[in-house]
């Protein structure tokens, strides 16, 4: 019975999140093309490109001014049709919407993938693995540092190391990419022992083992900068939660019963803290999706964030919208998965089907 309630709850949440994604993606498209401003810029750029390519083509040298203009207009209007500009925005917006939701993200205006494709989905798919590789690694390391560090600190409450970490926590108000700048400055620019950025050496090593080693070498600085930035805060917040829950009445009762410390930790503290830890982890994960943009830019790490920066500089609308949509999906999936995990971990939720938000 309870599991049925839970499944119904999950279904409800799933539908809610799906509707949220629908609206969010449409909002993205509308924001992206507010007042047709983007259309105008892209149109004028196409016009420039068309007229320049004709003017520079020696085959069309014999054309006089009127013939030239007509030719430019013809090719320009064809080009507009190719990009779907002849229809009103409302029509296009629904088209864009459908395309965005089905991940049929169209063709990039200026950028292309390593393999030379202009397909936005291929371009983004190519950049997804590096981002996932780097930030999953970072998050897993941070998660375990926080868990183990928090547990051991909560046992040594008030010790020198405990006080030191509490004192140093404000250092975590500086973001990871910011420490990244200093890491580059020290290890790449000054000591010259690690690369400035990128993912592999140029040219990439041929053997798979050396390739992996090279990637690993490039991962050191980004990981290090995130660890410096966030390991303190995650240790500290875990420690606070552990301490809060080890002073609950039922923990005191367990102590009074004479249960061993390890059992109390595992069964009474960890169990109740787990939902909060998951929340923390999820927030970390979500913020890492966002933080990736700047970190990847600083380290020239060829992931989604770096692509967004490149697309911004090249004014490549479809790619920017595509990335926003991908991020929206990632966020939605993360939230949904977490709500499910929450339900499994928190019996109250399973029983009542009530609302316990992730964030």
């Amino acid at each position: 019975m309870t599991s049925l309630v839970f499944i119904r709850h999950l279904l409800k949440r799933g539908i809610m999140i799906l509707i949220s994604v629908l609206v969010a993606v449409y909002a993205t498209i509308v924001i992206a093309n507010m007042g047709g401003y983007v259309d105008q810029i892209i149109k004028s750029e196409i016009y420039m490109a068309v007229s320049q390519s004709i003017r520079q083509n020696p085959a069309f040298k014999f054309l006089n001014e009127t013939q030239f203009k007509k030719m430019v207009e013809d090719i320009y209007s064809n080009e507009l049709k190719r990009l779907g500009f002849d229809k009103p925005f409302l029509y296009r917006s629904f088209n864009y919407w459908k395309d965005a939701l089905t991940m049929n993200l169209g063709r990039a205006l200026f950028l292309s993938s390593e393999s030379g494709s202009r397909n936005v989905r291929i371009i983004i798919a190519e950049r997804l693995p590096p981002t996932i590789l780097l930030f999953t690694t970072i998050n897993l390391i941070l998660f375990f540092i926080g868990l183990i560090g928090g547990l051991s600190l909560s046992r040594k409450q008030g010790s020198l190391i405990d006080r030191m970490i509490t004192m140093l926590v404000p250092l975590s108000s500086l973001p990871g990419w910011f420490y990244g700048i200093f890491m580059i400055l020290i290890f790449a620019s000054f000591l010259r022992i690690l690369p400035y950025g990128g993912m592999v050496d140029v040219p990439p090593p041929s053997s798979a083992f050396e390739y992996a080693l090279s990637v690993l070498k490039h991962m050191i600085l980004p990981i290090l900068s995130w660890l410096i930035a966030y390991s303190l805060i995650s240790t500290y917040s875990r420690r606070t939660f552990f301490l809060m829950f080890s002073s609950e009445d039922y923990t005191d009762l367990a102590k009074a019963k004479g249960l061993p410390e390890s059992v109390i930790q595992r069964r009474y503290v960890l169990r109740t803290v787990l939902p909060y830890i998951i929340t923390d982890f999820s927030l970390m994960l979500i913020s890492s999706w966002m933080g990736a943009i700047v970190t990847e830019t600083v380290f020239s790490w060829p992931g989604i964030g770096y692509l967004l920066n490149a697309a911004t500089n090249a004014f490549d609308g479809p790619i920017i919208i595509g990335i926003v949509v991908i991020y929206a999906y990632l966020l939605a999936i993360t939230i949904f998965v977490l709500e499910s995990v929450y339900g499994i971990l928190d019996p109250r939720l399973r029983a009542e089907g009530g609302e316990v938000g992730v964030t």
């Binding site: 809610m16 973001p175 920017i320 926003v324 964030t359």
Partner: protein
Amino acid sequence: MEFWIQGSELKVVKLELHKIRQSFKQLIVYKSALIGLLIILALISISIYTIIALPYGKAVELWKAGEKYWLDNPRNALPSWVNVFSSRKLPETITLSTEIPRAGISKVIIPAIGKLNVIRIEFSFNYEYDDFPSELNLFFRSKFNISSPHLTIHWIKPDGEDIVLKTLVISKEENYYISVDYGLAYDLKNRISQKLSKPIEYGMPIVVSLFVVEDDSALNPDTVKVMKGVYKLWIEGTTFETDTDLDAKLNVYGKVYGWAGTDHLRRDVGIAILWGTPIALAFGVTASVVIAFMNIILGAVSAWFRGYVDTAIQRITEIFMILPFLPIMVMIATFFRPTLFNLLLAIIALSIFGAGVKTYRAVFLQVREFPYVEAAKAYGAGNFRIIFRYLMPKVLPTLIPSIVLSVPDFVFLEAVLALLGVGDPLIPTWGKIIEDAFRYGALYKGLYYWVLEPSFMLAITSMGFALLGFTLDRIFNPKLKEI
């Protein structure tokens, strides 16, 4: 009856004020909070000084004025105070102009036969630094009708060596960039290698060959030494009209400038460091305060009314939680190139329905069941009176730490947008300096000051608010205090 109610409300407010005042006293006890407060006060003083000493309009104009305005500054110079810490004294910029007479500058025009005049300009300066200058430029301004003056430029080293740099016919405004005259570089290098009768194996720049001690140490770029002493630049020329006049300006560009150094366009980085302060503070504080209050109001409304209002607010919040904040901000900043103020508005608009709404709603759901709220309802207080006078004051103290703690986030958000190249193009901010530095390879070239100065400001601002915020958190959340 009415009076009594007023009194009780006043009491609630008074109690809160008292609590805040007491907390402030506690705050001073914590050393870290004191440091944080001092940092914030220092930043506020810098902001006030900046706004008074360098008005906004002037700062923006100076910043976008381009290289012409800054022509007398060295390019990518370190801040001057590095000389205090180093035994190797880096050169300051030396500017000598016949239009601003002082010791070491002389200009004589001697009438010769007929309309012919002989003109002599002499610049002399003492060069006592341990490093070579970065550039050498000579600017001419002359008045004539048809026939332009004919000039010969001499360079005299402290040991008396006389070198002819160039013979030229000048126009009314002529610039001679001595340090990039590659023909001259070749000749000068040959001259030194002939003198030493050994070949010089590396490309010796003009700033080196004009200032170098001409012995065997000049053969290796690592051992070259500066010849210290009085240098002279001598311009001798003939003019062909009676009322011809000639002014010249010599710039010996140094390697240090001002208290903050210069960037790739010779601009004083100090301007951006100073102006970055009020902008960062105003941006960060406005964004965090406005967003926090919007969130708290929405949370209270949602929790108080329940029903449809609650559902609507919660669903909208969920949609906004799905919208990826930073990518959308980047998108907006790219497509619309907003000014800093519009950027702030966009950030606020995207954050009104932030995750905070859910947190505060949960808190208000508990508060609304408190007896004093019930009492207010019983005497017939309106919905909004209850929300603004009863619910919100109760939660406000716990809100303060999170407002203070979120200030750095928004300071960094502005920096991030500038770093991604989508910030306000006109206003000099810290993020913009970092972006410029990155774009022009400051870390590759070892121009660390360019990155470190704005980074230091960002870090110190962030630390100030974080130190204060964490301490406030401990004071307002007693549960944390025990731990």
